[in-house]
Symmetry: C2
Subunit: 176 residues, 2 copies
DNA sequence: ATGAGGAATGTAACGTTATACAATCACATG
DNA sequence: CATGTGATTGTATAACGTTACATTCCTCAT
């Protein structure tokens, strides 16, 4: 969310993550939305799961499972890998978080509630990640897949590069 | 390559990997092309690098670094992880192989020589991988990136699903 | 209420993937 | 031949992820 109140940007291709926004409401809203969603679907939004989502929402970056695990330990939760991985699996399975394959790391979903095939932009300088929507089914890959009879079930679309903020701050590092 | 002799498919969206072809020439051609390419660019196509590419070319699947390492050991090369990773880094850096992020595994490039942003189709039943071309710059993600000033340097586009061969053999497993 | 069954959590050990850093080698130059 | 430079190799370790199993917590039918 770019802010607590709607700014008319939702539903467009405008990604979250590179823009300034009210972070407090951003976290609170995300948690509230998740809670509502879990109630509706009869899912158990347990303390660990809630905490992990909160940790993820506090960043617009992807966090490694072990970073999350460290924070869980600090908060008095279990400290073994499965604790973090199970919560993450739950969040990912129900569309509340995504895995960034390129980074082996996780990020809170920026568009919860929407049925989507997410696409990400990863800044290699500041590590921030923005989420947009991919429409692979309509792109070249979708065409190729249809042509040969490959049935797409899930897609990974991740772009690595330099975000607008970093491009401005460090123009000399902008070119590859 | 679908075969040693041109079948008029190169340059189209037709991916390699799900179709039958002459595998012997496919490996030999790949190695020859790599050799030529390295000579032209003054790169050292050392025995380990050559062997790793040969191993990859023998499959149209992605292989993990440690699988490759095992085969290297069998052939009398070093058996420590960096041996495999360094060769793979070289191949990837020079477009002779690609990493499939979703699988943490590697595959020989199906279109060496072409300057490309690869896209992959991964069959979850038989594990085969086909390479097509992505044109992210022209898709929704490219549009979103341009709109906010994100500069894309590299893309990861991977579709997971069921290949035509498996869909035919095991139709009951085709639906998610 | 209560106890059976399933879901979630905690803990330990293990397996896989990847990189950091030090040492060595090979070659071009003075 | 000595030496500087860059590529390559060796060794150790870090980071990521899974399996196995015991325990606790919910919930729901009795």
């Amino acid at each position: 969310m770019t802010s607590g109140s709607s700014k008319g940007l939702e539903g467009t291709a405008t990604p979250v993550g590179f823009a300034h926004h009210d972070h407090g409401t951003c976290v609170a809203d995300g948690l509230a939305a998740a809670e509502t969603r879990c109630e509706k679907k009869n899912l158990r939004f347990t303390p660990v799961r809630r905490k992990v989502l909160e940790i993820l929402l506090q960043e617009h970056r992807a966090l490694g499972a072990y970073t999350i695990l460290d924070r869980l330990r600090d908060e008095g939760f279990g400290s073994q890998p499965p604790v973090a991985y199970r919560a993450l699996d739950f969040l990912v399975a129900h569309g509340l978080a995504h895995k960034i394959e390129r980074l082996n790391a996780f990020i809170a979903c920026a568009h919860p509630g929407e049925n989507h095939a997410p696409a990400f932009m990863i800044c290699r300088l500041c590590d921030s990640v923005a989420e947009a929507h991919s429409v692979v089914a309509k792109g070249a890959l979708g065409t190729a897949a249809r042509a040969i009879g490959f049935r797409i079930e899930r897609t990974v679309v991740e772009a690595e590069g330099v975000c607008p903020n970093c491009a401005e701050k460090a123009p000399e590092k902008v070119s590859v």
